[in-house]
Amino acid sequence: MAQQTAPMKSALPQRRFYFDVKWLIILAIVAFLLVFQVFPLVYMLYKAFFPESVFSLSTFTRLYTYEMNWGALCNTLVAAAATMVLGTVLAFPLAWLVGRTNMYGKKFFRSLFVLTYMVPPYLGAMAWTRLLNQNAGTINVFLRGLLNIDARTGPLNIYTIAGMIWVLTTFYYPYAFITISRAMEKMDPSLEEAARISGASPLKTVATITLPMMTPSLIAGALLVFVCAASCYGIPSIVGAPGKVHTVTTRIVEYMGLGQAGINDATGLAVFLMIMAIIILYISDVVVARKQYITVSGKSTRPNIVDLGRWRGLTTALVSLFSIIVIVIPFITIATTSVKKNLGKGLFEANNFTTMHWTKIFGRDDIIESLINSITFAAAAATIGIIISFTMAYLLQRTRVRGRKIPDFLITLGSGTPSVVIALGLIMTMNGKFGINLYNTAAIMIIAYLIKYLMMGMRTVVSAMSQIHVSLEESSQASGAGWLRTMFKVTVPLIFPSIAAGWFLIFIPCFYELSMSTLLYSRDTQVIGYMLHYYWTYTSQQQASAMAFGILLVVVALNFILNKLTKGEFSI
């Protein structure tokens, strides 16, 4: 039986080329990133190699034959490498204890270590200089008494490269801890149970299964610590510079202080940082990530609890001691410094307690103004950032639009670029030379913050979006809701906790930002991070400590709000 099939006529005329609004959005984001991120970096590279429009390595030969710069370069590499090793060596056992054993207070310690991640690094630097400065450092005084040392200085000295490594480690190990912890949470515990049932002891299981499987994340975490430590400005400027331990970042800021005369040299140094960061980012994202084992299982989420047995109390005590040294003591030091009349005396010595510094900082217009600036700039960056993040999440997770990975790549690149490099690039290009003049404006600071911290928000929202199966949106549309209604009634409410978390993740580091602000501020756009650093260096360490402790309280409060807002799903 022959069946006749008439060719179906399409009611709509076929359009070969049609305009997709998604492309416009991608184009806008890409254009923004190209202008404010890629162009400045490329221009800096160009300037470094073509200082007078002709190819020349003169900038580099001049720079690196100068002993102070060469020393700074070595210091940076040595400090970053040592921090990387120490940080990872600390982070892995901590992540394992928290993720895989029955140590007491696991949840508490986990939040505590992650919280450090959200504390400005310069706060640690300030605390440790109070604790370990040669003359009056609290720990030094204590040790001299304990060991009966008859000297006016020592035995420890913070203003050395070792001191710098110590502070860098205490503030950057959480980066490795978080990376490793996340990977461990994703690892199917049955893999370790299978080793146990095959006859391996808990330690043997760690050595033959957990550690090898964690290696890619371990390397990724270590590289992250390296880049962060190498591009850090706050810690070296507070701990290193007074003892003439220079790093690339402090040298860049010093050169920039010279004005136009120093800009070429600053560029030469920045290019070194930039290239190093890009290479490491490449290794970490492309080479290491590809080796990642995906072993997320559908069911078994119960963590395989290793019974520590008689070691349970001891490990808990050791981890507590570590937390006290690395977190509690520095925080307390900042708090006590802020209420001391005389820095050299103990808090409980007669008449040494005062709230003077607190009243002062709240009484000074420049500080209040900078605080308002910080909040405004950070909120602006966070709000713009979260809109871009949501758009990117939608593009990445819900569409197959060509080119959607380009902004993703650029945003990742931006976050990996050292802060001082971003700021320097913006200064060199956004001064009207190329038609855009943002010099000394709030906009240039917000843009810098966005480039550096956008990725934190984006990753959070993208991963939340990937957890929401597309069928949830489709069933809303099938019920008759339009695209916009679906977004606002289904998608956004479902990922709201992540949107809130993403907003805070951008807001918090912008709020206390120091490195970029130091280079980009103007008389009207001073921010709290810069102000604090200025007061610490030139005015009063007590008032700076009061500000730092204030910042710390704000961070903790924000964390608390976030926790409530997302019903406990997120706290940073």
Binding site: D188, A194, S198, G199, A200, Y293
Partner: protein, 359 residues
């Protein structure tokens, strides 16, 4: 070690009791299945035997050796057990050979012996040519075989299998069932198998332990479990069944609602629950059956005709009829039914919730 004795084991996580007074003995060389709906505690029992969980109270013995009790706890690595996990748990950073050789290397066996044993067990699970592959290059079924080989290579006397086939497709599942059974016979080991799939349990086990809400409902050979289920839960969980309420009268049970009667000579009295398996109901020539009703709906499934018959008063009975039955099956038709066999239970009381299977 070869027999497993579980004495009065209770396990609770916080306030939730997941196992209650679990008592059972598994004999040497036996294939025992723990069967129950998800969340019933069967996996917890397996993990207690493996040593991944400690019982809150009670004791577990391998032969005469206590492995878990209030005072004694032998860690999993010292129990000499083989175990296959639901997620396979094949190590992705090792080759198939290294995965399987792992338990032997832990025992510090010499190289030649390891090579020999691994080769033998890989041949048994048909993976000889894949020895040098890494797991990501294998299919789900092959990974499952690697896990099985790894569990068997050290020749444990006890093998634990935690829903090992649930991630495989239907065809593969059937052939693996057969293979696991073959291997068990060859090694002569005791196997403890956890599943929620009653067909799997029926096909493979020497004995089945049916569990619900952490409590053993019945232990018995498959035939006994199916034809003499200890309570309505077991009857419902294993096989298909319809329940009707009724009351015992002289020589019969009068069904509620429809008022129809089933002949009954048993010793139950008063209010009862009658369980009827659909395959035990047959169509009879009009007037000759014990029950009568109207066909409400029917589904032709090829091998059977799955019908629902209205007995009156809102009561229904499911009938699985031979599609080649001489009678034409169609909705609205008056029919007579013979019930070849049925189960009678005492009414379960006000808290009667046996039909709510935890899922």
């Amino acid at each position: 070690m070869s027999s497993v004795t579980i004495q009065n084991v209770t396990k609770s996580f916080g306030n939730t009791v997941v196992l209650e007074n679990f008592d059972a003995v598994f004999q040497n060389g036996e294939f025992v299945t723990l069967l129950g709906p998800s969340g019933c505690g069967k996996t917890t029992m397996l993990r207690i035997i493996a040593g991944f969980e400690k019982p809150t109270s009670g004791c577990v013995k391998f032969d005469e050796r206590v492995v878990s009790s209030d005072k004694v706890f032998i860690p999993p690595e010292k129990r000499d057990i083989g175990m296959v996990f639901q997620s396979y748990a094949v190590w992705p950073h090792m080759t198939v050979f290294d995965n399987v050789a792992y338990p032997l290397r832990i025992k510090k066996m010499d190289k030649d012996a390891i090579q020999k044993k691994v080769d033998r067990v890989l041949a048994m699970v048909h993976l000889t040519q894949y020895a040098q592959r890494i797991p990501s290059q294998l299919s789900g079924g092959q990974q499952q075989r690697v896990a099985l080989a790894r569990a068997l290579v050290a020749e444990p006397a006890l093998l634990l299998l935690d829903e090992p086939l649930s991630n495989l497709d239907a065809k593969l599942r059937e052939s693996m069932r057969f293979e696991i059974k073959e291997i068990q016979r060859e090694y002569g080991i005791t196997v403890l198998y956890v599943t929620h799939d009653q067909t799997e349990a029926m096909a493979m086990s020497d004995r089945i332990v049916v569990i619900n809400r952490g409590v053993i409902q019945q232990i018995g050979v498959p035939r006994e479990i199916y034809s003499h289920p200890a309570n309505p839960f077991v009857a419902d969980f294993v096989g298909k069944i319809e329940f009707l309420d009724g009351e015992v009268k002289a020589g019969c049970i009068e069904l509620d609602g429809c008022g129809q009667r089933l002949p009954y000579e048993g010793d139950k009295k008063g209010r009862v629950i009658v369980g009827v398996r659909p395959e035990h109901v047959k169509y009879a020539p009009v007037g000759q059956g014990t029950l009568s009703g109207t066909i409400k709906s029917h589904f032709y499934l090829g091998d059977v005709n799955d019908c629902r018959v209205d007995l009156g008063g809102g009561k229904e009975l499911r009938v699985i009829a031979d599609p080649y039955d001489s009678m034409d099956v169609e909705a609205g038709k008056q029919v007579s039914l013979t019930v070849r066999e049925f189960l009678v239970y005492d009414e379960q009381g006000p808290g009667n919730d046996f039909r709510k299977i935890l899922t």
